[in-house]
Amino acid sequence: MDYVVAILLPQLLHGLVFGAALGLLALGLTVIFGLLGVMNFAHGELYMLGAYAGIAVVGVTHSFWAALVVAPLAVGAIGAVTEVATLRPLYRREPLYGLILTFGLALVFREGVRQIWGGDMRRILPPFTGSTPLLGMTYPNYRLFLLVASSLLLLAIWLFFTKTRAGVLVRAAVQDAEMLDGLGVNVPRVFTLTFAGSAALAALAGLLLAPIFTVYPQMGVEMILLAFIVVILGGMGSMGGSVVAAVVIGLAQSLLTLWMNPQRVAIAIFAIMIVVLIVRPRGFFGREGVLE
């Protein structure tokens, strides 16, 4: 019982917290894939930009909450400009070009941040400290906040996609962009706004996780691999699948850490991914035959 309360339970919660934040990251990735057919290699850098934009805003206003509002908006704007300037001309071309383009974008963002802020590890202090007694243990308040905030965001996104006209338009564009265009909807604008939204979500994830992790220019490189794994596991283009897979990966990662060193955990997760890709490439909830 001591083992459960002292070790297993906190680790389980850690996994859940991380999984929920990872879900925010993966959701944007999978929507963009469904919409543009592009695996966005720059998504990790948008995540990283979120954390650095947060550092900038906190530096000026000394308020984490202000950063939580401003940083995603700023990164969303960067995303919108990027989409219009670089991805829009590629709509009609093979997805391969989009993938390679986003790899170039990632290089530019990463190096740009290193030039502005330097390559050092940085931290953002959590807006509040302390911990709460919970189920016989004490758990840090910020992590609880992170779990609640991510869950509420995911819920809001779900409501957006199911209950609002804008959300339905995005889903329609994922299904059949040409038909939507024929119905008189400004599809390029839908693409751009969705890309901006996905960038803002990635930025939000980056900023929310920053007080737990460290902030450095390469932080997106490792996260993006994990996000790819989540997207595949959930089924490319399936939003619900991504969220489920994010929680599964978050839990798997934090639980496996109990028995293995972190490198073995990484390899174990890669192994899961390889098996899924070979046996069931459409993942948990992906549609059959899509790009298999």
Binding site: L90, I100, L101, E111, Q263, I274, L277, L291
Partner: protein, 316 residues
Amino acid sequence: MSRALSWRAVVVWVLLAALPVLPFMSKFYLLLAFDALLFGAIAMSLDLLIGYTGLVSFGHAAFFGLGAYASAVLLERGIVSLWACLLFAVLVVGLYALVVSYFSTTRRGIYFALLTLIFAEVVYTFFRYTQTFGGSDGIQGVPPPRLVGGFAIDTPMRNYYLVLVYLGLAYLACRVLVTSHFGKVLVAIRENEDRARFLGYNVQRYKMAVCMISALLTGLGGALYPGRSAFATPDLMLWTVSGEFIIMVMIGGLGTLAGPVVGGAFFVLLQEKVSSYVDWYFIVIGLVLIFIVLFMPKGLLGIRELLGGRRWRATA
């Protein structure tokens, strides 16, 4: 292949062979030329997959790095024969490539790219975090390999000629491959995989074969690397390195063989040139890549086409 092309090719090869005797070629420039040709050759072998077969491998850094480690491990233990190093690299890379290509070629498109990426990441993680092969420091300070007897490949010039021979043989192999029936089938798979299958070709076997060839050529290139640098580190296998290989192919021009060689050399020289002036060269490289994707998707050799030159894409 037309007479004009082969005449031009002779000039290029003679110039490359004469490069080290030019007066301004210092040791530094020779090593730079080594890198240019080495990565050119690797980009060319990747072009077999991307340009001809339509398979985007995001894991070529692992083949390169494994080749480098195979050779460094032998050199470190005092087995300094170049041939032993190459043979061992072929064995190690071949075994790994067999597994990767067997599983990866069952999938196409983005799934193929991700499978190769994840396999490579497993290898990277292994070498980076297990101390057997030096962990994050890798294997440092290995002696130069020997060609025969006591003839060590220990000067930049000897290294340069070694890599030139490697590039020449690799180019020959690739050229023969893509002009053969085998190469035609690869292009058919790229254009329409299902139709190639309906015609009775065992598509997966062809894909596996070209993966193996591409991986082995890349691994052989990797095996030459410790002779030049005296080290092998896990950073050689990071997935971003695989991305750089793809950039080289794109810069040069997909499906041209000669193009990626130019692209690889261009990439190495650009990085060197820009980084000697500013330390934000990755921004420049990223912008060059974006520019090429947007405005000249056929790469550097594609310019010739725009200018009305003949098509280089011999097999398309």
